[in-house]
Amino acid sequence: MSANSSARTEEEVLEAIEARRRRPRRKVMSEQVTLSHGAGGKASHDLIEALFLPELRNPLLEPLADSATVALGGAGSPRLAFTTDSYVVKPLFFPGGDIGELAVNGTVNDLAMAGATPRCLSAGFIVEEGFAVADLSRVAASMGAAARAAGVEIATGDTKVVERGKGDGVYINTAGIGLIERDVELRPDRLQPGDRVLVSGTIGDHGMAIMIARGELELEVELESDTAPLVELSAALLDAGGDGIRCLRDPTRGGLATVLAELALASEVSISLDEASLPLRAEVIGACEILGLDPLYVANEGKLVAVVAPEVTDATLAALRSHPLGADAAVVAEVRPDPPGLVLLETAFGGSRVVDMLAGDPLPRIC
């Protein structure tokens, strides 16, 4: 075997990989944009860090958070949260929701995860020539209903039409602003050993519902998207946990795994995930099994992940469970010092493995 003196030891190889994971990305490694760049995993990070950030860099953008936080006055005065997101889901209508509802809830949730109370949204529609007016009307109606449910107003909008074949019916972009009135610092680099990780309910429902709704799999599974506004739930959580809440995220594209991998790296801590404690629907487990997918990477549109200090774990879990959207909330992980930057899954089987970001599978458009 290859055990000569120049060969690297296993430990050296693994250390080199860890070092490489922490290096800033300087170059997009492919000549064209591929679907991997939109999958929310490592390729998406490449595009953002190596292509967009160098040209657009400024202190508001730099943290690359779901919402930017803008100071409005001196210390103690409310701050503004500002975010934007585009929706290209296919199919446009799916069990549990549609693109309109998703476009409101997704952006509202990005604001809520910054600790903000969402105020207004903008809505930009890119409609394909030939799209049925009745369908557009349905989308508009569900956006209106979703906005009322989330307590926001759609304050401004824009419509463009592109030639037939140049769009998939309709794409929607929404931007949103909200006010952060609490004195909270929710940041991915605030995790400390001993902290607990909570999820507000079953994971993977949205992504699997969409994949099944595409009708390409011929699976007879009844599953609905979990799309929902997380405004009340996050407010209840912040009331219960106060400054003991380190960070809030909604695990959309890339799923719970990607969120935890980002947090572990940002705080240089280890996150130890307990497989047996993950809330999962039997339908999601079954469909993932058949398709060879891991529910940890499947998108959610109505769930939040909270990292909280150990002393507020019980109070925050109770706060989540007291809300209908958090009835299945659970403590799923613990923050530990070692190995820094890595998420480990303690499997129900009794083993352990690494949980990393996706390397860029060309997954279908799910949001």
Binding site: L345, T347, F349, G350, G351, V354
Partner: protein, 386 residues
Amino acid sequence: MSDTAGIGMRHVDEFRSGEAAAHLAERIAELVEPGRHYKLMEVCGGHTHAIYKHGVEDLLPESVELVHGPGCPVCVIPMGRQDDAIAIAERPQVIFTTFGDMMRVPATRGLLLDAKARGADVRMVYSPLDALRVARENPDREVVFFAIGFETTTPSTALTLLRARAEGIENFFVFCNHVTIIPAIKAILDSPDLRLDGFIGPGHVSTVIGVRPYNFIAHEHGKPVVVSGFEPLDVLQGAYMILRQLREGRSEVENQYARVVREEGNAQAMRAIAETMELRTTFEWRGLGFISQSALKLRPEFAAFDAELRYDLPGIRVADPKACQCGEVLKGVIKPWECKVFGTACTPERPIGTCMVSSEGACAAYYNYGRFSRRRDRKQATTTPA
């Protein structure tokens, strides 16, 4: 079935029971002889994936080493065939249908995913029947299915061909790259640089070919074979049954996966394969080179569906990149991390070798799941005083 360490199994959850696993791990620890090192090869990529995904190695004694074998369908496709696939996909009249993993396999001119970005109509499907449906829905286009895999996936390609013929579909073509597992195992047994103690036999393949084709491994080479299922407890039990054979000085073919695998396999599936396909004289395997009678092509009766006859393919044999050691990894001669480019030039984001692409590939499984191991950690803790 013979003694299975006293564990009855029925539903998926039971196959992941930590309690049952701990019990089995104790029984395994009792079987291991002090001072002896065991190398067991899991032939199939599905096993490799399960082992890493569930952390099965954490439950094995340090003296039991699992060596990852060649049974990963994506891993064994040589670069030249991937170039051929891209050449077909880039024809304007073609809709090229493929399993998702194949879109990220590196070829001379990039990936299928890049060809798609350049304008090729490449679509991901989950089965050849999906590809046939695309053909039905697009009668003015030529729909090609990129058929890969061992005996596990070959029957569905065969049945799809039979259905296409029965329905008289004329715009459906198969680019056939199906391979067979036995010649690959033979190549590994003949490889001088590997000493193996036993084989965890492929479960899915065996549902088709049965368990008898493995007899030569037990009888001529004297190595135990246990055909095993894909749940982590199946794999652990497979290891247990091999170690028990070694302890008792036996070398037999045993069937741990009897709830699915029948001794004689699936005659209907074998008939469908025989009706539509025949052995190639030889076929190139990535990293393993040419292996005679190791792959299938369409029979002359199905020439009208054969993409290799329909299109003028480059068909150029491309040498693997010099730095790539996929061959050694596929044969189990080196561990993934021992490859010179592992984790540096070759990563899941930008793979050089196929073993880094598929979730069943040993390198991808190790990189994605196995970078931290409790067993390794324990070992370090005991050898290096804090």
